[in-house]
């Protein structure tokens, strides 16, 4: 086994720089990138807010301004677009609900409209969930639908047995999950499927041993994780893989100190932010999942808030929303690891 990364070196988390980086994101209107990513601004806010919350620095954003902006993205169909004037999609509806929830502002929206929107996207024939009215199906959307409904206590309105069947059909010989039945296993899809099953209390359908072994092998000598065999490591998989392992109670199957080093190495040392891998340009998506990964890996040199592996939000937010109960539905034989 290659010992290429130096375990003794201790890079520190550049907290102030990351806070400044996230704050600066809304002030980059002279950059083309700012406008090119307009369509997912609402997700950008979610990623930024999660990062700040985990750093316990969420005062860096103007809460009221954010809430007003989020509300402006809701469409008449009840769903949210990635930005005002953009079409609704489950991806952005999820980000909107997560941000509002973290601000304790879910009561600002009419929950039935959001719930109806989500329910309208379930294919009655197959139980599958569509991303929007155009019908793209993906296990990611099954998770999102389930997660959104859980925020509103409306899970019973969904045919959850059909969803579980659908997720099971998306399972592969390596124990992992793909984007749908037939799809190849991918660490990010594994996370969405596990999180979906966790909320529905149906983790019993998972082949825990095989999947844990597959996930553990995603760690490369650099300490970082890849999403599929023979692929490059990427900071965002620090989240997808570790959250999955956490749900499975198997985070200790990988070397957490090396994951931390890999993430810290990918920090942009001057202007802040975390990139997909060391030496690359940072973005808010990797900044969020890098910090969330550090939290799951038990990074010790800064008091990061604990993150919930199912919702990718601080545990305290999930607890105050009463959603932490998924943990009670984990199969008894999985005896949760000490976290």
């Amino acid at each position: 086994m290659a010992e290429s990364s130096n375990t003794t070196r201790s890079l520190s988390l550049l907290v102030d720089k990351h806070v400044e980086y996230i704050k600066s994101l809304d002030k980059r209107q002279d950059e083309l990138e700012y406008w090119m990513t307009e369509h997912l601004r609402i997700s950008g806010i979610y990623w930024g807010l999660v990062a700040l919350k985990l750093l316990d620095r969420d005062s860096a954003l103007d809460k009221q301004q954010v809430i007003d902006y989020i509300l402006s993205c809701q469409n008449t169909d009840g769903g949210f677009g990635g930005h005002c004037g953009h079409d609704s999609h489950l991806l952005y509806t999820m980000s909107a609900v997560q941000v509002l929830s973290m601000y304790g502002a879910l009561d600002k929206i009419e929950s039935s409209r959001v719930v109806d929107y989500v329910i309208s996207l379930q294919d009655i024939e197959t139980g599958e969930i569509c991303g929007d009215e155009w019908g793209e199906r993906d296990t990611r959307f099954a998770f999102i639908a389930v997660a959104i409904l859980s925020f509103f206590g409306a899970l019973s309105r969904l045919d959850s047995d059909r969803i579980v069947e659908y997720v099971v059909r998306s399972m592969n010989y390596d124990g992992g999950f793909g984007s749908g039945p037939g799809g190849e296993s991918h660490a990010a899809q594994v996370y969405t499927c596990l999180a979906c099953l966790a909320i529905l209390g149906r983790l019993d359908v998972v082949d825990r041993e095989r999947l844990s072994a597959w996930l553990a092998e995603r760690q490369l000598p650099s300490g970082g994780f890849n999403g599929r065999p023979q692929k490059l490591e990427d900071v965002c998989y620090s989240w997808w893989v570790l959250s999955s392992l956490r749900i499975l109670g198997r985070v200790h199957w990988v070397d957490c100190s090396r994951v931390c080093n890999f993430v810290l190495d990918a920090q942009e040392p001057d202007s802040g932010g975390i990139a997909d891998r060391p030496g690359n340009v940072p973005d808010v998506y990797h900044t969020c999942f890098g910090i969330a990964g550090l939290s799951l890996a038990g990074y010790e040199d800064y008091p990061l808030k604990d993150v919930d592996p199912v919702y990718c939000m601080p545990i305290e937010c999930i607890e105050s929303s009463g959603l932490r109960s998924w943990i009670n539905n984990v199969p008894k034989s999985w005896s949760q690891e000490k976290s």
Partner: protein, 334 residues
């Protein structure tokens, strides 16, 4: 999201570069506003369609604009006439070929292609398959290309002999595996095709197919015993056997193969793990069939692995603890 974009030393841009960047930004914003305005005003004309084309060529990620584009196409006069619709959608596919070069990983773009093909009056799925062949030829592990391939195959099966298409796909995975036996995407697709093939052959043919499969996976294991995927596939072949008797036979083969591999390199990490899990499985299927010496060997192996493969020390400790309880032997990992 920035994937794989290298950070370069900050260099103050020249006046010309600044000007160019400013113009580029202005043009993009102007075009974007124009399209969003047209959409807000529910304009469904050929001009509006062209505006979406220009914008999507610059940015493939605008799902709202893709949606708008589809809406326009369906509202144009040409849509009502089969021939004109055929032509219009063919042009749409050509346009997508241009866009695919900008960003092969765009989910929205692939969705749009599926939409266009699904509504094409005379869809050419074979032609589409050869496009996917080309994409996989360029990048044998492309996630989108394989997902899209399965979509195309599903449609092809609606119009052609379904079993024959499955056989062809199975042969395609064999070819991909022969080119690179670590092509996980190909092994994966194979695992989705094999069960269907097995269900429609007689017992003798079934055994032949499984035997060939067993040889192929053994070949992969011997070529690269450190590739986890090959072992996972092997275990899956155990799963799909009809009887425990067959499973036990295969497990004995697996253990014999590992013994042979270990004779050559005694410190092969993966064969060692697989030896332990092989015995664990054998013991589960056939209680009493694992000897005390073999049990102790397993515990010793786990202790060694915990030392040499520190990344996964936790996994070996867990395996050791479970087996020591099940077999009533001492756990050497504590």
């Amino acid at each position: 999201m920035m994937h794989g974009k290298r950070r370069v030393a900050a260099k103050e841009p020249t006046q010309d570069e600044k000007e160019e960047a400013r113009q580029q930004l202005e043009q993009y914003c102007a075009l974007n506003s124009r399209v969003m305005d047209l959409k807000a005003q529910s304009v469904f004309t050929a001009d509006a369609l062209d505006a979406t084309r220009q914008l999507l060529e610059l940015n493939t990620e605008l799902h709202t604009v893709w949606n708008y584009r589809r809406t326009i196409i369906k509202k144009l006069d040409a849509w009502k006439d089969t021939e004109r619709r055929q032509k219009m959608l063919e042009q749409e596919l050509e346009f997508l070929m241009k866009v695919i070069r900008n960003n092969i990983k765009s989910y929205w773009m692939w969705n749009h292609r599926m939409w266009a093909l699904s509504l094409l009056p005379r869809a050419t799925w074979r032609k589409e398959l050869s496009l996917v062949d080309k994409l996989i030829g360029m990048d044998a592990r492309n996630y989108h290309a394989w997902d899209y391939r399965r979509f195309v195959i599903a449609r092809l099966k609606d119009t052609e002999d379904s079993d024959a298409v499955d056989e062809q796909e199975f042969a395609f995975t064999t070819a991909q595996i022969n080119r690179d036996c670590a092509n996980h995407s190909a092994w994966h697709n194979r695992s989705k095709l094999l069960p269907a093939i097995l269900t429609r052959v007689d017992q003798q043919r079934r055994e032949e197919v499984l035997q060939t499969e067993n040889e192929l996976i053994q070949n992969a294991i011997y070529t690269d015993p450190e590739d986890q995927n090959a072992w996972l596939y092997y275990d899956w072949l155990l799963d799909i056997q009809k009887s425990d008797e067959d499973r036990i036979r295969l497990l004995h083969n697996k253990i014999a193969a590992i013994r042979e591999l270990l004779e050559l390199e005694e410190d092969g990490k993966r064969p060692l793990v697989e030896l332990v899990s092989g015995f664990a499985e054998l013991g589960r299927l056939q209680p009493g069939s694992v000897t005390d010496a073999e049990k102790e060997e397993c515990m010793e192996i786990l202790r060694t692995l915990k030392g040499v493969d520190s990344y996964h020390a936790g996994r070996y400790a867990d395996m050791s603890s479970t087996l020591s309880k099940r077999w009533n032997v001492s756990d050497l990992c504590v």
